[in-house]
């Protein structure tokens, strides 16, 4: 079934897009991630212009994080104060990202920068997750109970001024730390169309030292608002949010996420993390090869 995308200006097979959204949704429900880092590259491979892909995937992530946030709210798994700080930073980050986006677009290097960012981010985060989950599986097999890591925030964060109490996170730190973190993620949200959960969650755990109980919920809270802000930024600056494309993606991913979440409850978390690490590394590897391989199109047309 072919459907014309009014902003991307091309016609796509609606079923393929819905299935693509469904597949990403399945993974996002299983692993508790937004899945933007999979949607954007897959859409580009399908032939959607990179800008439209990033913009529309940001608005899809908004939709897929909604039900997660409401579920975590009911469970009390959101540190609203911490989340608000991150969102504030994130909104500024998404605006700054738009400035970077237009500079890079003018110089013609936006595609290369997007690809390199993906390779670096996916490679490093995927590698860390891989090592960590292998270690966890080994420990679980040998039967030695893993010693609970002492929850501590990074010394650099302790040195920031204006400390305040975040009760739900069990922290007494400067609000500048979550703001800065949100700012960096916000830039990536506009540039790459990702929610940033796969960077945010490790950062909240190991840099800020937040309570594990509120990490996922707060990360989703930040994702919800910052992807919404990035969608607005894209809608007003690059004008490349395709509402039809985002709707098709959401139809698939909203369903896929629910199935994935049910499936995740039946699997050991260590193996789940290992699987996610492998997927992240594979996507990163594919992007790295794409940089070095001779591309199909040597020439590209820009309409100024």
């Amino acid at each position: 079934m072919d459907i014309y995308l009014p902003i991307a200006n091309l016609s796509v097979n609606a079923l393929v897009i819905i299935l693509l959204g469904g597949g990403v949704g399945l993974l996002s429900g299983m692993f508790g991630i937004g899945g933007g880092f999979l949607t954007t590259p897959l859409l580009i491979v399908y032939g959607i212009p990179p800008t439209v892909a990033a913009a529309s995937s940001a608005s899809q992530v908004t939709g897929s994080s909604v039900s997660g946030v409401s579920a975590h709210f009911r469970r009390g798994g959101v540190d609203v104060k911490m989340g608000a700080m991150m969102v504030t930073g994130g909104i500024f980050g998404s605006l700054f990202g738009a400035v970077l986006f237009s500079i890079l677009q003018k110089s013609g290097q936006i595609d290369t920068v997007i690809a390199i960012l993906y390779v670096v981010l996916l490679g490093s985060i995927g590698g860390l997750m891989f090592i960590e989950s292998i270690g966890a599986i080994r420990k679980a097999r040998s039967g030695t109970a893993s010693r609970a890591r002492k929850r501590r925030h990074h010394p650099l964060i302790a040195s920031l001024p204006f400390r305040t109490r975040f009760y739900a996170s069990g922290l007494y730190i400067s609000p500048l730390a979550p703001m800065l973190l949100g700012f960096c993620i916000g830039i990536l949200t506009t540039l790459l169309g990702i929610g940033g959960g796969f960077i945010l969650i490790p950062a909240m755990l190991y840099l800020l030292g937040m309570h594990t109980r509120v990490v996922v919920g707060t990360s989703l809270f930040q994702t919800l608002f910052v992807t919404a802000s990035a969608t607005l930024v894209h809608a007003t600056t690059t004008k490349s949010v395709d509402i039809v494309l985002a709707t098709l993606l959401l139809l698939g991913s909203a369903t896929g996420a629910q199935i994935g979440a049910r499936f995740a409850q039946k699997v050991t978390p260590e193996y789940l993390r290992l699987a996610l690490a492998v997927i992240v590394l594979l996507v990163g590897l594919r992007m790295a090869l794409g940089l070095g391989w001779r591309p199909d199109e040597i020439y590209t047309v820009d309409l100024p």
Partner: protein
């Protein structure tokens, strides 16, 4: 007086014979509306050749050929070329063109190279190698031809540029028709279908018909909303995403 009238009457066939044949072209669709199911358009271009005196040339005279050129609205573009720098492919050189047709299709009753000489082809832009791309910057000739062939190749593979020799059928040397496919990836705007009558290596007649391609209904509404009231459009996109995501979660919780 009478004599003069007589001479004129006698000369009349000759006078008409001196004038050139005339083309009466038409297209199957003057307006193409892009709706949700748009996957491209199949245009039928047809028409008649009116010979002076109403007499089609006989089989021993040089044959009449038809060339049809369909062009999309011209764009000002920046063409970038990737090069391998430090192991990765990045955009390096670029060239600016003032007016490049967004769509170009040439259909003819015989290969154009057999019909007219290179000079005539250049004048009428017959053929992809004779497109006048008007580069804006002063480029070296070899760079210019490299970029031009890169652009033509790129658009050829997207189905935006093509040559269809032998696509025009001529019936009894009077009626002609050709089918031209326009892919979904074209920009909206005014397209032109130019029909040329070629005989004996010369272009004898030409006629133009316009085709308007535009988004209509929901597609037009979305495109114009995104362009004109972009803040409202962005808010609507966010609201729609939230609504869809939330309702999917709410529905699934019941199972």
């Amino acid at each position: 007086m009478k004599l003069r009238a007589l001479i004129l009457t006698a000369l009349l066939p000759l006078l008409i014979g001196a004038t050139k044949p005339v083309l009466v072209p038409d297209v199957s669709q003057r307006d193409i509306d892009i709706v949700y199911s748009f996957t491209g358009a199949d245009l039928l271009l047809f028409g008649a050749i009116l010979y002076p005196g109403g007499q089609a040339p006989g089989p021993d005279e040089p044959p009449t050929d038809i060339v049809i050129v369909v062009k999309g609205p011209s764009q000002s573009i920046l063409l970038r070329e990737k090069q391998k720098v430090a192991g990765i492919w990045v955009n390096a050189e670029s060239a600016r063109y003032r007016s490049v047709p967004s769509f170009y299709a040439i259909a003819s009753s015989r290969p154009v190279r057999d019909l007219v000489d290179d000079r005539t082809r250049a004048i009428y832009e017959f053929g992809l190698d004779r497109l006048q791309l008007s580069p804006a910057s002063g480029m070296a000739p070899d760079t210019q031809s490299r970029f031009a062939s890169g652009l033509v190749d790129l658009r050829k593979r997207a189905g935006l540029y093509y040559e269809a020799p032998d696509a025009v059928q001529i019936t009894d040397r009077v009626l002609y028709r050709a089918r031209v496919t326009i892919p979904a990836r074209v920009p909206v705007g005014k397209f032109t279908a130019e029909t040329f009558l070629v005989r004996d290596g010369r272009v004898l007649a030409a006629a133009v018909r316009d085709i308007n391609i535009r988004k209509s209904g929901f597609e037009r509404f979305v495109a114009s909303a995104a362009d004109r009231s972009s803040i409202l459009y962005g808010l609507a996109a966010v609201a729609l995403s939230v609504l869809l995501g939330w309702s999917a979660g709410a529905i699934w919780r019941r199972f």
